[in-house]
Amino acid sequence: MYRYDEFDAALVRERIAEFSDQVDRRSSGALTEDEFKPLRLMNGVYLQLHAYMLRVAVPYGVISSRQMRRLAHVARTYDKGYGHFTTRTNIQFNWPALQDLPAILSDLAEVEMHAIQTSGNCIRNVTTDVFAGVAADEIEDPRPWCEIVRQWSTIHPEFSFLPRKFKIAIVGAPKDRAAVRTHDVGLQIVRGEDGQTAFRVFVGGGQGRLPHIAQEIAPAVPGQSLLAYLTAILRAYNLLGRRDNIHKARIKILVAAIGIDAFRDEVERQFAILRQEDLRIPDEELARIQAYFTPPPFADLPATSPAYDAARRLNPEFARFTRSNLREHKQAGYGAVIVSLKPIGGVPGDITAAQMDVVADLAARFSFHEVRASYEQNLVLPHVRLEDVHAVWSRLREAGLATANADLATDIIACPGLDYCSLANARSIPVAQALSHQLADAALLEKLGPVRINISGCINACGHHHVGHIGVLGVDRKGEEYYQITVGGSPDEQAALGEIVGRSLPAEEVAPAIARALDRYLEIRNDGELFIDTVRRLGADPFRTAIYELTDAAA
């Protein structure tokens, strides 16, 4: 993985010194909250319902075992013993004291972590495919390009005060495992006509109050020109994006307002007048960064492991785990293990300090010291020998991290909601927990197959409810929590926004209603048809009927 050079290290060190001074001045009263707020936000510090919250960047979701141990240390020393992985693959600490923030950031800097650009109207943490460098369908590993975009966008003077926040995701395969079309800019690696690396570029996606699926703006921007093209997009947005209305300030509103063709014209106009030579990525620099992401020293193994196969035969619970939480690796004899942060009845994305240490130890011992965070709020041990999967599973199971539910119905994505967030209208976590209990039966989960359920506590959509196969949105009805259900959303290469099925439901009715919708799916699906494909074939109506069956009968 990438290691800081002297510029990175100096930049982070200088920022901590600057922020420490700002914290001191805030503590002494020299800075008011209004003056301090934009400064703390530039360093990932929010003031939530109960306390300050620190959001730490996990660049493109890659964490070393050493970094994971340090996150555990932060959770234990400065917080209440846990952290929360977000849909941007960052980690949030919910209880730090103001005066501890400089010490936390110093501790994190020692392991090359920081909180810069995890909030504010700037380019946020770039996300990617959690199986980057692992998946066999990959054209090219997207992580070096993520790192290039990270370096370019970090404290970029022109793009530090955009009309609104700006999110970029990059995938290296035709299969979209990073939801690129829900981003302000989504990048998909393709082969250009010359056979070289190029990027299919999508622009204007986003969720929130006014959701949009991104549209293609360019089919194949050459890799060398990527930063120039991104600069042209950001420049067009920075100049034309609205600053008078926070709800209309994202690039999605601009693209929708003037149309993709007019926006493309503007980007091409900007592209033509850029100093391209300054933004061209030198071959030697690309090679230098790519070298950080060369595959680890894999052993030359046969494609199958008799020990692994025997363990699967002997232990049905282990076999179930491998069916749901083990993904194929392009290296023979290896697999990628999904560490579930979705225990039945748990808080999606939460992980205790003790669990972080377990994951760090397993990564050190079995996965070349590497962990990944997924936008689905799980972790991944990307490079595990098949013969070691049983040992990994046993330890994860002891630690409560081996729920066999990756991509299944209890792998629920949820924001912190009104239990923590000052923006939320309703709680997300208790609804996720009720649903998790309702669908807990492992055999049922497998029978249902992949179903993505997303829950957001407000229209800002941090739980990505618009693109859940089933989405749940918390709304406030005269001070009571109600939940609006959508069906048919999808975050992948067939990205779509879900359709609202009808009136919102009180909290206690949500889990049974969704369970009825899933029962209906089992009744009406064709052989082998996935939930989302049944929705695509038949529309939302059968599910709408199931969701309101009992409430309509009672009315």
Binding site: R26, S27, G29, T32, E33, L47, Q48, L49, H50, A51, Y52, K80, G81, Y82, N94, W95, A97, L98, Q99, V347, D350, T352, L418, D419, Y420, A424, R427, I429, P430, Q433, D476, K478, G479, E480, E481
Partner: protein, 95 residues
Amino acid sequence: MKLLTANRLNDGRVIYLGEADAAVEAIDAARILDADAAEAALTLAQSRPAVFVNPYLIEVEDRAPSGRDRLKERIRSVGPTVGHSLDFAARNETP
């Protein structure tokens, strides 16, 4: 009736204005304010920015938050209703 609430500067925790103008953590220790006292309390809290961050008034009935934001204020007063912070509180409770 009303209470004055804010977040505390040094750790962000939820606080209320209590008796003798003290900042208290427990909603049960908050001073109940009529309309005139509420305005005075708000002015007082705004004049003490080293303690009270973003002070505002909430409606209560018998110290229980009422009004449109009653759920949010109830959660602010007791902490998250679920999750690891409850385990932390249980571990750190003095017997």
